[in-house]
């Protein structure tokens, strides 16, 4: 339905039409058209596309490796997983297999990214419910992890760390101790979150029973990620279709059955705890070896090999001239917000013929149209915050 047609409907039915966004404290980079009758939401139309950058089309004119920094831009707080999903697809096309150590490094950074993403989600949830304290806390508690990755890669958010066939940086020497310190810090902080935020009576009153999505509806609407698991569906790509070394790691998939905003908040905290478990295991199990595949290393110049010994991998011609055989490949990665589906078609040249990405935020859009109606106006930001919706990721 076009916007004009929708306005017409509202005039006929005598509802108040609210344009929440694109410049509104509770909208993010999107517009949500909300029709209210009194304080009750009757209809919601999420108007997406305000931050569409055409990542898919732009990637088609670039070398395979040059698309790496671009595909991670849309999901700005969960860059490692977006990066990983793209590289998985390229590797499947080109038939490259990363060495085990690179896989472990990928898993570690991906789980750190998941923690960062969930903390960001909790922060946004906090500010949407009207408390700035949790917003500041959660954003600040990302810092130890961001600092670690910054020291390793040189970037704070967009690491471009994973390349086809390996990773670009070796873990720093004292990474194990420092990540342990950071994890302990976060565990201690969880206790304070629990006191101030999770068990706060006002939070419970605002979120419990609000925005409930049943198991059947969640499956029918194709909701993904923590939001799906909060509705009682045990689906996690890391378990169901393991990639990298997730099948060698022992972790649980937290599931809750209430399907309301409160369950979606709790499940994110549970998942962060699981991510901590994974990081600790991976740090213990990580084997020695190369962080790029053998052929890549062998073709390096002596200078680049010297730089490799310092822990950095230079981009060589092996990557810039990468031309996978004609065919298509699909990758599925469990990102912080849900499953990332990337699809690549190669025509045998050095440029992708077609690139398609389906991001979790876009698949969580049914929350706007199916869960918000019938709730109160104050629940709109509550539900929006609880599903951890990120407009740039949805718009790509």
């Amino acid at each position: 339905m076009t916007y004009e047609a929708l306005s017409q409907v509202s005039q006929e039915e005598g509802l108040i039409e609210l344009q929440v966004g694109p410049a509104h404290a509770g909208s993010g980079h999107m517009r949500i058209l909300v029709w209210v009758e009194g304080d009750t939401v009757v209809k919601v139309d999420p108007d997406v596309g305000f931050v569409h950058r055409g990542v898919e089309k732009l990637s088609e004119g670039r070398l395979y490796v040059k698309a790496v920094p671009m595909v991670e831009r849309p999901s700005l707080v969960d860059t490692v997983n977006a990066n990983l999903a793209y590289v998985e697809a390229v590797e499947a096309l080109a038939g490259i297999k990363p060495p085990p150590r690179a896989s472990y490094v990928r898993v570690i950074t991906a789980e750190i990214s998941r923690i960062i993403s969930h903390l960001y989600g909790i922060a946004i949830f906090g500010i949407f419910l009207g408390t700035s304290t949790v917003f500041m806390w959660a954003l600040a508690d990302r810092e130890p992890f961001i600092d670690l990755l910054e020291e390793m890669t040189g970037a704070r958010i967009t690491y471009s760390h994973i390349i086809p066939g390996g990773v670009r940086w070796e873990l720093p020497a004292d990474f194990g101790d420092r990540i342990e310190t950071a994890l302990r810090y976060l565990e201690n902080r969880f206790n304070e979150y629990e006191k101030l935020w999770v068990k706060n009576p006002v939070v419970v009153a605002r979120t419990q029973g609000v925005g409930r999505l049943s198991r059947e509806d969640a499956i029918r609407l194709g909701v993904v990620g923590p939001n799906l698991r909060a509705s009682g569906v045990k689906r996690d790509i890391r378990k169901d279709r393991p990639y990298e070394v997730y099948d060698q790691l022992d972790f649980d998939v937290p599931v809750r059955h209430e399907g309301d905003c409160y369950a979606r908040l709790l499940i994110r905290i549970d998942e962060m705890r699981e991510s901590m478990k994974i990081i600790r295991q991976a740090m213990k199990q990580i084997p020695d070896g190369k962080i790029v595949y053998d052929d890549y290393y062998n073709k390096m110049s002596p200078l680049f090999k010297k730089i490799y010994d310092e822990g950095r991998v230079k981009i060589t011609q092996s990557l810039t001239s990468l031309a996978p055989p004609p065919g298509e490949a699909v990758s599925l990665v469990e990102g912080g917000r849900g499953e990332m589906f990337y699809y690549l078609v190669s025509d045998g040249t050095r440029f992708p013929y077609r690139f398609r990405s389906v991001t979790p935020s876009y698949r969580n859009l049914p929350f706007f149209t199916h869960v918000m109606p019938g709730q109160k106006l104050a629940d709109v930001p509550a539900i929006y915050g609880s599903i951890d919706y990120f407009p740039p990721e949805a718009d790509r």
Binding site: E17, A25, G26, G130, T133, A140
Partner: protein
């Protein structure tokens, strides 16, 4: 002291009273103090929240004082911004209501005795009723303001204000009435003297809790910032205001908070007691400072809630208002009746 000034300045008793009255309204605890307190309390609110949230808060404007004059800097900035009158707005109320709101938010101060001298300056016997009445005008003006702005968010904000007004003013009046039963006077000056043995907070804690809840509600402090709710309604009834007008409407809740807190400190915290005396210093200045300080402590407590709680939902707040806040108020009334019956 008074006799001395009479002698030196050749002022009549009446003229001197007039000067004191002006002093009362303009300096302490009136306009100047209210401005200073607002300056302080906004700074305190931001600084306390910053401490909880691992930030610095206001800092760069006068670093030596910890950024306490940040609000002045903001005010100057506001005054240089463009004032925008929305095309559909009802111009007269839209322009004049912020000023009116500000003056009405200070009205309870006029009817709140902060010192023994008040009884001589303003011999009014019904200050309890007047102070309570003037605190209740502001919500009505807010409804008008929201309607005049011709903005859907402003309109919804003022509707919320209207709903909450009705749900919370009834318990408020019951709480004030139960204190009237305890003190058996409508004159707040006498009410303070009645608290010589036992402050009202201890005499009827239930009424005090209800009173504080209503103060949080009326002044839009967290968790009752439902009317302004920025993630839902942008800025509630004030959405369309810009420039100096925005500064004015920003200040109104704090002025209101000041009025309420003074009322609270007189009604429940024994006002200027244990200080009392006569003359210019002991009969006016020192007791007034004591009362204002008590009010300031109440304000600090109320603004600190921002660091702890998220926002309530409208329907939930109304349920609570007609539910256990009401029961609490009625229980407070019952407590007062029992106290009176046993002749305490």
């Amino acid at each position: 002291m008074m006799a001395l000034s009479l002698l030196i300045l050749g002022l009549s008793r009446l003229e001197l009273d007039l000067i004191y009255s002006l002093l009362y309204i303009l300096i302490l605890p009136g306009f100047a103090t209210a401005l200073l307190i607002t300056l302080f309390i906004i700074w305190f609110e931001r600084k306390a929240a910053a401490r909880v949230q691992m930030r610095y808060g206001p800092l760069w404007v006068s670093r030596r004082t910890g950024g306490i004059i940040q609000l002045l800097a903001d005010g100057i900035r506001f005054s240089f911004q463009e004032f925008i009158l929305p095309a559909g707005a009802d111009a007269l109320p839209f322009v004049f209501l912020p000023g009116l709101l500000l003056s009405f938010s200070l009205m309870p101060v006029v009817f709140t005795p902060v010192a023994p001298a008040y009884a001589i300056l303003f011999p009014a016997g019904y200050t309890l009723i007047l102070a309570a009445a003037f605190t209740m005008i502001i919500p009505v003006l807010l409804v008008v303001l929201g309607w005049a702005a011709d903005n859907k968010f402003s309109f919804l904000g003022s509707l919320r204000e209207a709903y909450l007004l009705i749900s919370y003013e009834v318990p408020f009046l019951i709480s004030v009435a139960s204190m009237f039963l305890v003190y058996r006077t409508l004159d707040l000056s006498f009410a303070v003297l009645e608290q010589r043995s036992l402050p009202g907070l201890l005499a009827n804690p239930l009424a005090a809790i209800v009173f504080l809840l209503v103060v949080i509600r009326s002044t839009g402090r967290v968790p009752y910032d439902i009317v302004e709710a920025d993630s839902e309604l942008v800025f509630g009834p004030y959405t369309e205001y810009s420039s100096l007008m925005f500064g004015l409407v920003m200040g109104v809740p704090y002025m209101e908070l000041y009025g309420y807190s003074l009322f609270f400190s007189v009604l429940f915290l024994a006002g200027w007691l244990p200080i009392s005396g006569t003359g210019w210093l002991m009969g006016f200045m020192v007791p007034a400072v004591v009362t204002v300080l008590k009010a300031l402590i109440v304000m600090c407590f109320l603004v600190f809630l921002r660091s702890v709680y998220p926002r309530f939902k409208l329907n939930r707040a109304m349920e609570v208002g007609w539910g256990w806040v009401m029961y609490l108020a009625l229980a407070g009334l019952l407590l007062s009746v029992i106290e009176v019956a046993i002749g305490w």
